[in-house]
Amino acid sequence: MRYLPLTSDDRAQMLGVIGAPDVDALFADVPRAARLPGPVDLPAHAGELEVERELTALSAMNRAAGAGPFFCGAGAYRHHVPATVDHIIQRSEFLTSYTPYQPEIAQGTLQVLFEFQTQVAALTGLEVANASMYDGSTACAEAVMMAQRVTRREKAILSGGLHPHYAATTQTIAHAEGMEIVRQTAAIDAEAAVIDAIDEHTACVVVQTPNVFGVVTDVTKIAEAAHAKGALLIVVTTEAVSFGLLKSPGEMGADIAVAEGQSIGNALNYGGPYVGLFACREKLMRQMPGRLCGETVDADGRRGYVLTLSTREQHIRREKATSNICTNSGLCALAFTIHMTLLGGTGLAELAKINHAKARELKAAVDGAGLEVLTPRFFNEIAVRVKGSAAALVEALAAQGILAGVPYSRLDPHAGLDDVLLLCATETTTSEDIAALAAALKAA
């Protein structure tokens, strides 16, 4: 077996040093009844060629996004990632290292995390950020629970524009922790409705912009309303490239901003692994979940970085920890940081503008195909009303080689929005793609 270095001679010699007659003797503590006599009923080992062949065949059964016109978004976005990014993240020193618990020999990872935290804080317009979460949806749930710790209140109000998977994840996790989760009715322009629901028991309101229907909202008034009642505003963003163009959550009064960072540096990967961004006001720092990287000095006074404020974390606090989280999304955060560094602020702003321009082109084409565009102000996604079932339309167009977006019913079958189709355009979308979609929509 190519991954196992020991030879039979090695094994025999080592057993001799140990003083055991055979390897079975090392498993002596396993109850006899539980010892399997031989291999389980699965195929035997396979060579690299054979495994590659099987996986390539499975891969070929999928229609890759790049294989034709493609308009899916709704929480996962196809962007061009420079080749440099994937090269660097595959360097042994990044790929095959562990969480930086020994900072003297992990300054590479730690400095990257410090750069990541600084980038995330700048993008979200807030003072501090953590070293990443599993993804945007779990970051959202953690933000809601953080609001409970800060306000000592139990109720969270989720806007009807929040991605349904985010709402369901938050409902599952935060409810298990004892919170009352109020999910508002899904609606295109749902944000303002949260204001009336805020009361003196409200820990936080959760608003997404651009929301799941693509609507861009200035949440300043919602922030004011929340703060007037002593509640926090959590702003969710699923498309991180939008930070390049739109007012930041911090600028609009958010106390906590969470986002899916996949768009920057990370492939679609059929939904994971992704990278959750989490930022907040400095005064809330000690209530943050997850890992934090901080600056310090070494014994010779040289600047360096360590994981810090670990007294919040499970390995120190055990049942009193702020969260049970033990890992972040290190390699995806690295990819984010490298891509963000290549872009720079000016590059991200340009990229965001291109995305918006592509979406305007898409909207014009959809208008031209005679469909109603429901999203009034958008970044790179729009919601469209189709005739009949959006899911059926998507299947029909997939058969023609066009991945024509995401039917809203896929995210939430109970919302009664079966005729709503979510379409997205990015810098990877060509004018030919848009023309092909428009023609297919017109013919459908």
Partner: protein
């Protein structure tokens, strides 16, 4: 696995300038000093070429920001910046990385290649399932392997890490109790040696945590367990093999007692790599167990994630598993994304989409490469390597549990350092100077000054001997009054010991133009 810091110094004990040669510019040969990107002056720079956009964003008037205040770098500068940083990291590809409970083993590059195939990497999670049949087939095959290897009938794939899997398992247990009118059960029993995530997860779900005592020989105290198992107990959470690197000999009795009390048995599967192919947790009476794909099935640790933590479930808990899952049908494989109908008992959703697909591909490639025979060999070699280290070091260090074999990791305490003035931390830092990553230290909490060494199965005898020789030499130095070697360690790392107290007292989590801690 996590590092324990209670009781160990977090401040360096003294500054001693490295003696000897100094370069003129502060350069250190191959090791480049590298500033933060914010200090490299690229405030208007970009390393990507994008087409000009004629159109403005006037339809977003009042909703746009003035600009993004972040620096960029050209491609060669960015490459150099991150390559320089990478050289300050230890890595499993460089040398033994014996972090107990973390399982740092070789990461095959075939797995990386497979995960990057366009059909997996460039696949949208919400693309029509008719266009993602290969992805669903892969998830289905992975599930089959996980179920067969564990002897469990069901698996929830979506949890994104071990702790997320623990949460998933406990939510299944909570839902099952509530469905059976047993919602009053509010206590979870956890051994004192458990990972910190176990009590944290139980508390998170609203359970109160009670500790189970440990016997002299490092196992769960059955009498104490029996005394604490009552009508209020919802579950026990036991790691097996446990965090002392020992198999729980009474595991079948533990599960019988637990079930007799009406509670469920959650097994922390962090150490499944020690028994894969040789023992099925289902045969031990386990009801739920997460599997860290990044440990047992070698998906890369990546400097701290991403992980993946699928949870295998017993028949009793299977109906409560969260969405989504894959089912077969007349029109190929389908993805159930919303619990309804027969599956209405599902407790909810752990995250957006369907889990860590990129990790599923890697783990499946790893399993297929080993096969059922190779995976059994994995467990055997992992256990053999750990016992070899234990045997080679037992005369110079003090094994915490000298009697009988260990499983995949060898645990030592610090009794052998008594009177030397050297602590576990000092010893660990001195290992860095010898070219090795330290072992897990000060964990588990039940052993004083713990040193938990996990070599894994992907180490050669030559590397194990090199490691044991280095530790023997260090042990001799510690006992030979060579204290400065340890107190000032590491001497040869990119940085000397870091001041963690300063970092926590005045947290500086982002770069700011004004100043820095140094």
């Amino acid at each position: 696995m996590t590092m324990q810091t209670i009781g160990r110094p977090t401040r360096p004990e003294g500054s001693t300038e490295a003696a000897g040669f100094q370069s003129l510019t502060g350069g250190r040969g191959l090791l480049q000093d590298e500033p933060l990107i914010f200090e490299l002056g690229g405030w208007t720079k970009t390393g990507v070429d994008l087409p000009e956009v004629a159109e403005d964003a006037s339809d977003l008037a009042g909703l746009t920001r003035a600009g993004v205040d972040l620096p960029g770098l050209s491609e060669p500068e960015a490459m150099r910046h991150y390559v320089r940083l990478s050289q300050k990291n230890h890595a499993i590809d460089l040398a033994l990385y014996p972090l107990g409970s973390c399982t740092m083993k070789h990461n095959p590059r075939l797995n990386e290649k497979a995960a990057r195939l366009a059909g997996f990497a460039d696949l949208h999670p919400l693309a029509p399932v008719s266009t993602t049949q290969g992805a669903l087939a892969l998830m289905d095959r992975l599930a089959h392997w996980l179920k067969t290897l564990t002897g469990m009938p069901a698996v929830a794939l979506s949890p994104k890490a071990g702790a997320h899997g623990e949460l998933c398992g406990l939510l299944c247990i909570k839902a099952a109790h509530e469905a059976a009118g047993q919602g009053h059960r509010r206590t979870v029993l956890v051994p004192t040696s458990a990972h910190g995530t176990n009590p944290a997860t139980a508390a998170f779900v609203g359970y109160s945590v009670q500790e189970i005592a440990q016997t002299e020989d490092g196992r769960v105290d059955l009498a104490d367990l029996e005394a604490k198992l009552g009508p209020d107990v919802a579950a026990i959470m036991v790691t097996n093999p446990n965090t002392c690197g020992l198999f729980e000999r009474d595991i079948i009795e533990i599960s019988k007692l637990t079930h007799a009390a009406g509670a469920y048995f959650y097994c922390d599967g962090a150490n499944f790599n020690a028994i894969v192919g040789r023992v099925r947790p289902g045969d031990l009476g386990v009801d739920a167990m997460h599997i860290n794909l990044h440990k047992t099935f070698s998906t890369p640790h990546g400097g701290g994630g991403p992980g993946a933590g699928p949870v295998v479930l017993s028949a009793a808990l299977a109906p409560f598993a969260p969405a989504p899952w894959v089912v077969g049908g007349a029109n190929g494989l389908q993805l159930v994304e919303e619990a309804a109908g027969d599956a209405a008992q599902a407790f909810g959703r752990m995250s957006a989409f369907h889990g860590q697909m990129g990790m599923f591909v890697r783990a499946y490639a790893y399993m297929r490469s080993h096969g059922s025979d190779g995976l059994r060999q994995v467990a055997e070699d992992a256990v053999l390597n750990a016992n070899y280290i234990k045997a080679r070091l037992s005369d110079v260090m003090t094994p915490a549990f000298p009697d009988g074999p260990c499983m995949h990791e060898a645990l030592f305490d610090d009794a052998w350092l008594d009177g030397t003035g050297v602590t576990t931390l000092d010893f660990a830092k001195a290992m860095i100077d010898e070219g090795f990553h330290p072992m897990t230290m000060y964990f588990p909490l039940v052993v004083h000054g713990a040193m938990l060494i996990e070599p894994t199965e992907t180490e050669s005898k030559r590397e194990l001997d090199r490691f044991c020789d280095a530790l023997r030499a260090l042990a001799a130095a510690a006992k030979g009054n060579d204290k400065d070697r340890f107190k000032g360690a590491p001497h040869l790392a990119p940085l000397r010991r870091l001041d963690e107290t300063l970092a926590a007292r005045k947290p500086r989590l982002t770069w700011r133009a004004d100043s820095s801690a140094s």
